[in-house]
């Protein structure tokens, strides 16, 4: 016998949220802790070091600035996708999701160029504490970008079938994925100045 999971679309009366939304916020709270621990490690190493390099003397600020623009552009395209799906315009919503995915690719290509340059100069995480925390934080953040891209690709192609038979559930999936994506953007907003500019 098939049992239907309740509150995948409508809001649960006690929480005021549909289950997916409650789930994504609990997940984001744990992500907050994950990156929080790394920011804590960065503060500890930086304040405890005899000398600590300025990020802008070692890292490529113009490339990271470009990546900041790419990521904030992707944040706006994902909310525009959600808005268009809610207006019932599937084609336009999907186009914005494709734009978001393209931004994700753009971000990772720029990141690969940045890492490639460092590797070509034999600058690996073992070089010193600065590079260790730089690769750890930007690498983990990059993995989150890749994770988001996989979900967007699913929503654009195979997952798009849901639109035709359970439209609201599809819109909710776009909303929860968007919340995750904004969080990834939010982490970068703090990573960019702390690692590259200070």
């Amino acid at each position: 016998m098939e049992m239907e999971i309740p509150y995948t679309v409508e809001e649960r009366p006690d929480t005021g949220l549909y289950n997916g939304k409650l789930g994504i916020w609990l997940f984001l709270a744990s992500e907050f802790m994950l990156f929080g621990a790394l920011f804590s490690a960065l503060i500890m190493m930086r304040t405890g070091a005899i000398s600590w390099p300025h990020g802008y003397t070692l890292l490529n600020v113009p490339l990271a600035t470009l990546n900041t623009f790419v990521l904030i552009a992707s944040s706006v395209t994902v909310v525009l996708a959600w808005a268009n799906f809610r207006l019932g315009d599937f084609a336009k919503g999907r186009m914005y999701l494709i734009a978001t995915l393209a931004c994700g690719f753009g971000f990772m290509i720029i990141k690969a160029i940045e890492y490639g340059t460092k590797f070509s100069h034999h600058l690996y995480p073992a070089e010193n504490n600065f590079y260790a925390i730089y690769y750890t934080m930007t690498g983990l953040h990059g993995l989150h970008v890749v994770g988001g891209m996989i979900v967007f690709a699913y929503l654009i192609w195979p997952g798009a079938k849901l639109w035709s038979h359970d439209r609201q559930r599809y819109i909710n999936r776009v909303e929860t994925t968007g919340l995750y994506w904004h969080f990834v953007d939010l982490v970068w907003i703090f990573l960019f100045p702390t690692l590259y500019l200070l």
């Binding site: 929480t15 005021g16 949220l17 409650l22 916020w25 609990l26 709270a29 744990s30 907050f32 802790m33 929080g36 621990a37 920011f39 804590s40 503060i43 500890m44 304040t47 405890g48 070091a49 005899i50 802008y56 600020v61 600035t65 900041t68 623009f69 904030i72 552009a73 944040s75 706006v76 909310v79 525009l80 808005a83 809610r86 207006l87 968007g178 919340l179 904004h182 969080f183 953007d185 939010l186 907003i189 703090f190 960019f192 100045p193 702390t194 500019l197 200070l198």
Partner: protein
Amino acid sequence: MSGNSPEQIRHETRIYLTVFAALAALTVVTVAVSYLHLSGWRAIALALFIAGIKGFLVAGYFMHLLSEKKLVYAILAVATAFFLLLIWIPYTEKDSQDAARAAAIAGETAPAENGH
């Protein structure tokens, strides 16, 4: 949260585009300020202040935290409390770090005295 009438959704869309323009402008400001090469704490305070405004715009408007359900605020309040605890931990180690740093500097400047 946000309503679902076409007019409300179009109004939200205009807000999203305004927030995007503000985020782009603040990114330019962040980078421009970094070229001033301000001293230690001033640079950190200003960079984090601008990042804080950008974070507020993303969380408040794109993630709709300005008009979210109480349970979401409760979840984030717990997470924020533990986050602040994590950020506070390095300062509890400050004395031992200062001592270790002083010892390291002494070791570098007077190697003959301690036999290294």
